[in-house]
Amino acid sequence: MDPTRKTFKSLSGIEIKELYTPADLADHDYDNDLGLPGQFPFTRGVYRTMYRGRLWTMRQFAGFGTAQETNERYRYLLERGNTGLSVAFDMPTLMGYDSDHPRAKGEVGKCGVAIDSLADMETLFRDIPLDQVSVSMTINGPAIVLFAMYLAVAEKQGVDFSSLRGTLQNDILKEYIAQKEWICPPAPSLKLIVDTIRFCVESAPRYHPISISGYHIREAGSTAVQELAFTLYDGLTYVQAAVEAGLKVDDFAPRLSFFFNAHNDFFEEVAKYRAARRLWAREMDKRYRPAKPASLALRFHAQTAGCALTAQQPYNNIVRVTLQALAAVLGGAQSLHTNSLDETLALPTENAVKIALRTQQIIAHESGVINTVDPLGGSYYVESLTGRLEAEARAYFDKLDEMGGMVRAIELGFPQREIQQAALRYQKEVEAKERIIVGVNAFTESQDDSVPILKIGPATERRQVKALRERKRKRDAKKLGRALAELARAAERNEYLMPPILEAVRREATVGEICDILRKVYGEYRETVSL
């Protein structure tokens, strides 16, 4: 380490002092700022006993090739102690195209599983009882369609909707901000999201209709503060949309869930999760005054930072992931995905994903960190940083309020620009070696270790397209046509769309056919390119 170094900064650029003492917490009030776990403002955790009562869900995000191949991977994971599933869809599915669409060429099954219609969804969950395993689905633009397919599979399995547990990502705002897989413009997209929330309130009360995600915002290069601020503000935007549509906040707020990144700066990440809970509880209380305490409690899934993995000396990634996962656990996560060591090169092999899962199991069962609730609570440093992150995120809230809300801010390119500038700043620090990345800009090797790679060949696409065409031919064209016409009619009148979409997927309408109707009625989102 450079002995002349005068300033020490967190990964997000917050200057860190040499020592923190009680003087840093002079304004701190235990009851008001921390309280007990399971109680307002939930800084110390959303449950009274936290991991003593129940461990977090070990939920590895997975999907590749055909539904058949991914189903095998799910069963492999469940047999090894994975306690929840998480579906990764391929690019065409994320964008609402069928596998035979010209834009799908080369992309089918490549970075997720290809799902075209109900038959694929059934195969995906073959021998996986949906009333026993909680399933998270990373899908946004066409979320309502894939959710309907999931419901239709539950029907076929004889599972009542009320016993379904799981999460639909369904967060379009962060797509416009960072991840950039979309179909329709903001207003109709928010309407579709509210429709899924309504359905869950009425028929699937144990299911989380949305996972408000900071993960992708962080991966796009944001700071921890930006991740915190934009995500929670997105959350408030969804709450507002649902309330405006006539839903009662206490009916749906307890089923909102969040999704955060677990990045490299250990204490900053722990502070971020703690600040997220406190800020959400305080803002929800202030803005909506819900009656149920559960409406104020922020529950979250975490995933270790993909962008922190290195292609150079890939085995070092196991160590990075361990530290990141530990931060998520000490920050009180309800669910966790740990990245595999080979993910800067390709989707993970079975062996790589097994090491990632074992990492969680070692933290849970060997490290002893689960023995008490919020073990870092009370640390002068962690509490001070928690307060700092909350205050800085609040400053972004004020700015966004002034701009007229998140949709307007996105139209103005505000969050996009903030993130882009942070990403560029970080890259310059790496180039200048102000930030050291082991194996990349220091401690490099002339020859990096090579690791085995999961290969998905062109045969997958050919098989999927052939199967899709065969299934399309076998459908009852009359019933399908009626269902699609009814959906188009309901969309044009801007009615509640869950029932007609559910009926269409039962008739084996494809993702592309349904999304084409949405595109036609609501239009397509176009990004204003800025550099």
Binding site: M91, E107, C111, A220, Q312, A346, Q420, E431, V529, L531
Partner: protein
Amino acid sequence: MKTADHKLRVLVGKVGLDGHDRGVKIVAQALRDAGVEVIYLGIHNTPEEVVSAALQEDVDAIGLSIHSAAHVTLFRDVLRLLKKNRAHKIVVFGGGIVPRADMRALKKMGVKKIFPPGTPLEEIVSFVRSIQPRHADIEA
């Protein structure tokens, strides 16, 4: 051949359906800062859209970013369309999540260079600067 007077024109963007544009924007910015004329194409482009923009903008090189593992198909289509339009002298390079074996395949196909994650910007900038502008000899 003198190239100093001719400003190098490079088309930079993403091909295919993935929207991971953090890297490509940083590269575009770095090239612009280094005095290269950058035409930034944005995300979600088909190979046809890439090639048509390259011809219209009369560029010397095309830099494409892909994180969706569709690189082999999409680069092959871009190269084929360039050839079809007698524009195969346009240098094609790229970056993203590409396994080593595929890097070799892409090189063989005619992709000049693939930059993996963690590549210093300096390396990309100096590669682009070493490209000879296609019209330099005519204009000199």
